[in-house]
Amino acid sequence: MIGNAPFFVVGLLFLAGLVAIFMEKNLIKIAVAISIISSAVNLFLVALGYRAGGTIPVHYLAGEETLMVLPTPQAMTLTAIVIALATTALLLSLIMLVYRLYGTLDVDEIRRLRG
């Protein structure tokens, strides 16, 4: 049970982010919610690769230990973090442009594209 705790946290974070995307009206808050979702996914990947009591997955540094955590999810997480950084930066700059052009961050008022 306690071994699954990270996955419950992942689920909670993901749901919190998803709920915030639908409930929040402010674009900045929606961007924050998307960042929370990305963090939940990254946490999920790292938790997947963890083995209880495992050491670092580098052969000559691990010493006598034979149980190692999985290296692939860590590499995946690093890549996903970089991607999330790029998209967050892009999202925030788009939001900045929206604020400049519309004068508001309220999603209900940013509606020129309809129908």
């Binding site: 996914v41 997947l48 692939t72 999810p73 991607i83 129908g115």
Partner: protein
């Protein structure tokens, strides 16, 4: 060293090289920049065509990046494939050909279309990154890399959709697309992660060889199908698509059409090659079929009422994607039923795959023609247009060809693929054909409206100064017209050389898995 072995790597390296060269080359003036834009996308198309020919002759091409040998997927002692693996079967090669033609046409068009604007160095860079992401999605054999390429394509397309950043609508469309697509790709990553957690592999063929259908696999499948259906603009999640297509510069809209097809490719790859016979019942096929029907019908009914030309064409994209989902969904439905497959399933898949080619070509052409009208007149609202046929004869001719093809008028290529879909989905349920036919009729109605209001009628006094668009734009449209006419005039050659190998490769799950898991070729 044989160049032909390295074509899958070159296919990605060439646009990547172009993307990073663009800011430097653009310092040296307009001519060099245009040479780069056209040259790199032409070379990409050439590589794609060579790759397609190789795959047709030599079977599935596997490429391992960073290995001792380019096709050593399972180094000695390894039970699972390692390193970055590209896998190109006939379906991938077919998609790559479609995508690279669209990219070349869009690049030719953009040379003249974008020359009035500043920041073209960035435009060229993003354009090549978008091409790279699209081609990568089509040839990768690995889940995580698929996610990476989705993100490369997405980030590039956010930038390109919002390229005219002084226009509120463009920024809004870009932001909308970014929000929706970012949530979607995170959900895709969760699905990839959970498959990795269970099978210790990221390679699609390796997972496919071990897959047993359980609760976790169901969840992963739903996540993947949901995300990729959103990315290709299927009905309940299509809201971003008309906005993004309408607000992007026209050359980019043409490429975005091909990019949405890359997501469709991913959807089909996962359903057919990864799950395949383990798909467990007919729920997912019926879900895909009903998404297809809903996209067709609601897409076209939304399109009929539009009066802004690019937005109208954007809504037609939603309805056209429905045809492919319908055809391939029917193929998926009878995947385990050999008799049904032989009688109508394979025809439906051929129709769906042929429609991918046709759709990419004529939809790209329609977007380019709409862009040409905007370039020449500065207008996007149909109510303000009229009598343009006198001023822009070439654009008019090409628009008519594309409109006839999308409406499925015989003898155009759209008719061939639609006919294949009609006659085969009829065997599943006649209602499917009824919806498809109705959609086709409404499509025709709406393009008759566009043609009549924009090109026919009395000449308007505001348009007396309008002239035909420059040659680069005409050539860009010409490439796609040529592709449409080629598929129209030689339907049997296209079907037997382009479409049938792709459909066979898609059905052949064992072949796809064996190419990687069989220990190299």
């Amino acid at each position: 060293m044989n160049w032909n072995d390295h074509l899958p790597a070159l296919l990605l390296a060439v646009p990547l090289f172009g993307a990073f060269m663009a800011p430097i080359v653009c310092l040296f003036g307009k001519t060099l920049r245009n040479v780069l834009l056209i040259g790199i996308s032409f070379v990409t198309m050439l590589v794609a065509l060579l790759l397609w020919r190789n795959v047709l002759v030599g079977g599935i091409a596997v490429y391992v990046m960073g290995g001792e040998s380019f096709n050593l997927t399972l180094p000695s002692g390894m039970a699972l494939p390692i390193r970055i693996i590209m896998e190109v079967d006939a379906f991938s090669a077919f998609m790559v050909v479609c995508g690279s033609i669209a990219s070349f046409a869009g690049a030719l068009f953009s040379t003249n279309y974008m020359e009035k604007f500043s920041g073209i160095g960035r435009f060229v860079s993003l354009y090549f990154l978008l091409t790279l992401g699209m081609l990568g999605m089509m040839i990768t054999g690995d889940f995580f890399n698929f996610f990476i390429f989705i993100e490369i394509a997405s980030i590039a397309s956010f930038g390109l959709v919002a390229f005219w950043r002084d226009k509120p609508e463009a920024v809004e469309a870009g932001l909308k697309y970014a929000l929706v697509s970012q949530v979607g790709s995170m959900i895709f990553l969760i699905a990839a992660g959970s498959l990795y957690g269970k099978y210790n592999a990221l390679n699609m063929a390796a997972i496919g060889s071990m897959l047993q259908f359980g609760v976790m696999e169901k969840l992963a499948l739903v996540f993947i199908v949901g995300t990729l259906a959103m990315k290709c603009g299927s009905f309940p999640m299509h809201m971003w698509l008309p906005d993004a297509y309408a607000e992007a510069p026209s050359g980019v809209s043409c490429l975005l059409v091909a990019v949405s097809q890359a997501s469709l490719y991913g959807l089909m790859r996962v359903c057919f090659s990864l799950y395949g016979i383990n798909l467990g019942g007919s729920f997912i096929p019926w879900m895909i079929i009903s998404m297809g029907l809903a996209s067709m019908f609601f897409g076209v009914t939304m399109a009929v009422v539009q009066h802004e030309i690019k937005r109208l064409i954007g809504y037609h994209s939603v309805s056209q994607v429905g045809y492919m989902l319908l055809g391939l969904g029917v193929g998926l439905l009878v995947l385990t039923d050999a008799r049904g497959m032989a009688e109508y399933g394979f025809t439906a898949m051929k129709g769906g795959i042929f429609h991918i080619f046709n759709y990419t070509m004529y939809k790209g052409l329609l977007f380019l023609a709409a862009g040409a009208i905007y370039y020449a007149t500065g207008k996007r609202d149909l109510n303000e247009m009229g009598g343009l046929a006198r001023r822009m004869p070439f654009t008019t001719a090409m628009f008519v060809i594309a409109a006839a093809a999308i409406s499925g008028l015989p003898p155009f290529n759209g008719f061939v693929s639609k006919l294949l879909i009609y006659e085969s989905v009829f065997a599943v349920h006649p209602a499917l054909t009824v919806v498809a036919l109705l959609t086709s009729v409404l499509t025709l109605a709406s393009f008759v409206k566009v043609f009549q209001t924009a090109f026919l009628g009395p000449e308007k006094s505001v348009f007396t100064g309008v002239r035909e668009v420059p040659s680069g734009m005409l050539f860009g449209m010409g490439v796609l017209t040529l592709a449409v006419l080629g598929a129209t005039l030689f339907p049997s050659w296209t079907l037997s050389n382009l479409v049938e190998p792709a459909a066979k490769a898609l059905v052949d799950q064992a072949g796809y898995i064996g190419a990687v898991m069989g220990g190299g070729l």
